[in-house]
């Protein structure tokens, strides 16, 4: 075996080690990114349904649109389907009811109830806060004075990475036309 063959093996070995090292880092990073993407996908799905409902708040309703509201729950009326039927919509986040199928100990049950029909939103939601605001952005408790609704949602990853749960937040202030 001549010297050049030995040198080639040595260089090849160094390069292979570099590749394996990079690969392991990429794999780790990749799972991190994948979980991150799943969280973003989850929060996107929650945001989409929340936006669909909240934008229509009070549509086709005579009188008060918001029936009740507190930090984790809101009930309002809206003709969601634009079919002349006013629906009663409730969004409820129960911070005491954990999700049985979830490994993450931080997420709790988020439910959407339309005319009594309940849909569980299992998107690893760890926070769902509702705040009622008036036109000057002051927090109000009386639903009749509410002109804007601030919604804050935080979702976490279902699985931990290095013992930590990645999370993504979404926040939006809705100013539905129909409650102005």
């Amino acid at each position: 075996m001549n010297i050049s063959t030995i040198m080639s093996f040595a260089i090849g070995a160094i390069l292979l080690l570099a590749v394996f090292s990079t690969n392991s880092r990429v794999v780790l990073n990749s799972s991190d990114v994948t979980i991150d993407q799943i969280i973003k996908e989850n929060i996107n799905n929650v945001a989409e349904v929340v936006s669909y409902d909240f934008r229509k708040m009070g549509y086709g309703v005579t009188g008060a649109a918001i029936v009740s509201a507190n930090k984790n729950e809101i009930t309002f009326k809206s003709d969601l389907g634009n079919d002349g039927t006013v629906n009663l919509v409730t969004w409820k986040f129960n911070p005491t009811q954990s999700v049985p199928e979830s490994v993450n100990p931080n997420d709790f049950m988020l439910t959407r109830i339309v005319d009594g029909v309940t849909t569980d939103i299992n998107m690893v939601v760890v926070k769902f806060d509702i705040t009622l605001l008036d036109n000057a952005n002051n927090v109000v408790l009386n639903t009749l004075n509410a002109k804007k609704i601030k919604v804050e949602v935080v979702c976490q990853g279902a699985e931990p990475i290095d013992g930590k749960y990645n999370e993504t937040a979404w926040q939006k202030v809705f100013q539905p036309w129909n409650i102005q």
């Binding site: 690969n23 990749s30 934008r55 036309w177």
Partner: protein
């Protein structure tokens, strides 16, 4: 050594290239999701902006329907189409659709149409818009803020008089016949409000420039002064004596500082003359009335120069009575000429 090293390096480049492509692909997915969300919001904004623009278009031209076809609204980031449909005589439905990079949104808005008026809300039977004036009420005149169209219903009643400040109110209160001013708040019924005559100055100028406005020639006037169905806009800018059997007038009458309205001639003939509408005295009070003439609507006196002195001297048995129906004749007359258009308000939105 050279060849094997070249092979190894090539292999490494390929492996690293594949890794890089995978990483980029993941980043691309993240960016695509953000772009998707941004495009959706942008499309929604487009649809809403198109509704706002359509409302502005409708306010300029309430009859605009674009031949029942969707109206294309071009904005910086894209195009939205808005279909305008009549739901009933005063309600419209706008369906706005926008598309941006594959993201389609639809917003439906219901609008209510309100007719605009050239004449601001009347605040009293007699409005004095200047604070530099003297006031003398001679004879048995009466100024009444109760709606003469329905005197038993006090819901539409106004103050007999309105002035711009407390000092002005004191000027009127100093008059010995102040108790001839009736209306809301007790007798004498004099309200104070921050009045601005410039709105009326603009109105007067617009009406004066319009060829449909009738300028009453100086001297004895024997022509008509509008009718209930066809109220008019009349300008008096020189001495005019209403005579020759005139008993009623309808619409809006503007007496400028150079004008002088004398109703005594008409009153001598008819016993009483009634003007159903709004009479505005600009820059002066030149109003002579003997007998029992009635201005059934409202009277305003003022100047766009608040320091301009006006001597208000009410003589005879002139009655100035607020009448919401008669103010309507004034609005009809002015609106026919000025065509103030309509206002559209959003009633509800589905998005």
């Amino acid at each position: 050594m050279g060849r094997s090293l070249l092979i190894i390096c090539t292999g490494m480049i390929i492996v690293f290239g594949l890794l890089e492509m995978n990483i980029q692909k993941k980043q691309l997915q993240t960016i695509q999701r953000s772009a998707f969300y941004a495009n959706e919001l942008q499309a929604r904004n487009l649809a809403n902006a198109a509704i706002d623009i359509t409302i502005a278009k409708l306010e300029a031209d309430p009859a605009f329907r674009n031949n029942s076809s969707p109206w294309q609204v071009t904005l910086d980031k894209g195009i939205a189409s808005v279909l305008i449909e009549d739901v009933n005589t005063d309600t419209l439905k706008l369906t706005s659709q926008a598309s941006l990079d594959g993201q389609n949104t639809k917003v439906i808005a219901w609008l209510k149409q309100y007719q605009k008026s050239s004449i601001p809300d009347i605040m009293a039977a007699f409005g004095i818009y200047n604070n530099n004036f003297s006031y003398t009420g001679n004879g048995t005149y009466a100024i009444n803020g109760y709606d003469n169209d329905n005197p038993d219903d006090s819901t539409n009643a106004l103050p007999g008089m309105i002035v711009p400040d407390e000092t002005s109110r004191d000027v009127v209160l100093a008059d010995k016949n102040k108790d001839n001013i009736y209306g809301t708040g007790g007798t004498p019924s004099i309200d104070v409000n921050d009045l601005d005559f410039t709105t009326y100055t603009d109105l007067i100028n617009e009406l004066a420039d319009n060829p449909l406005t009738k300028f009453i020639p100086s001297g004895n006037y024997k022509g008509t002064l509008g009718s209930e169905k066809n109220p008019g806009v009349f300008f008096i800018d020189s001495y005019v004596k209403l005579a020759g059997g005139l008993s009623e007038g309808y619409g809006i009458m503007i007496v400028r500082s150079s004008g002088d309205l004398d109703l005594s001639g008409a009153l001598d003939i008819n016993g009483n003359f009634i003007f159903h509408g709004l009479v505005i005295f600009e820059d002066g009070w030149k109003f002579g009335g003997a007998g029992t003439p009635l201005i059934d609507g409202a009277v305003l006196v003022g100047s766009d120069n608040p320091d301009h002195y006006i001597d208000i001297n009410i003589t005879g048995t002139v009655d100035i009575n607020y009448n919401s129906k008669s103010v309507g004749y004034a609005r009809l007359a002015a609106d026919r000429i000025l065509k103030p258009g309509a206002v559209f308000k959003i009633m509800k939105v589905y998005e």
